[in-house]
């Protein structure tokens, strides 16, 4: 005779929920980013520095503002899309408008040493922000 305190179905249902969550997430989607905040940010470590790469297609660098304070970086700006008054729009998938994002790092960074680079990284118009601790 044996006594079990957990139902084997709990494990099966937990697996089912995990699979459903993964399936419904944007990870397998056709776009690079999910439906989260704009702009999406990836943060990497490169030796002693941090590199934040921000996906900002269609944003002119004059419309972009980056501020730093202690361990916090703020990226704000606007993305404008215009078709002209005489145009008829067939398909509109791109998003536009203002954005304002703040993210923090677990350490204080040197605000004076931050470097933002709008085009050279991958020569593909990502904006990368190099953060020097």
């Amino acid at each position: 005779m044996s006594t079990t305190f957990s139902s084997p179905f709990d494990a099966i249902f937990a697996l089912q929920r995990a699979l459903d969550a993964r399936h419904q997430s944007d990870w397998f989607g056709s776009n690079t980013a999910g439906t989260g905040a704009f702009p999406p940010i990836n943060i990497f470590q490169q030796r002693d520095d941090f590199v934040a790469i921000v996906e900002l297609p269609g944003v002119d660098k004059v419309d972009l503002e980056i501020e730093a304070k202690e361990s916090t970086i703020r990226i704000s700006g606007k993305k404008e899309i215009g078709f002209g008054t005489s145009a008829g729009v067939h398909r509109r998938e791109r998003a536009s408008g203002g954005f304002d994002r703040t993210f923090s790092l677990p350490i204080d960074i040197s605000a004076e040493a931050i470097r933002a680079d709008a085009a050279s990284r991958s020569a593909g118009e990502h904006t990368s922000v190099c953060l020097y601790p």
Binding site: G36, F44, E55, V89
Partner: protein, 106 residues
Amino acid sequence: MFVPVTDIFETDDALTVMLEMPGVAKDRVDVRVENDVLTIEGQIDFGVYENLRPLYTEYNVGNYARTFQLSSRIEQDRISAALKDGVMTLVLPKVERAKPRKIHVN
């Protein structure tokens, strides 16, 4: 392959297609027309990510591809393409007979 988000709008003279392909450089884009199908492909330079250790990620990185069926109203030989700020802009001129004409009322 990711599908780039796209806007398409039409003026009297042309159709304009704008695709977002962040991270794709000009020399890594392939635009071609074959059997009335317009294909746009953009390759990412993954070498950029060498020696970068991901700590926190919100988006995926990969190549892009999208195709569009062209109608006979497009002058395929005159399609032009430009890439700026991660946005590919294709201008597809209309053939003469597809352009709007004003008809005078007598």
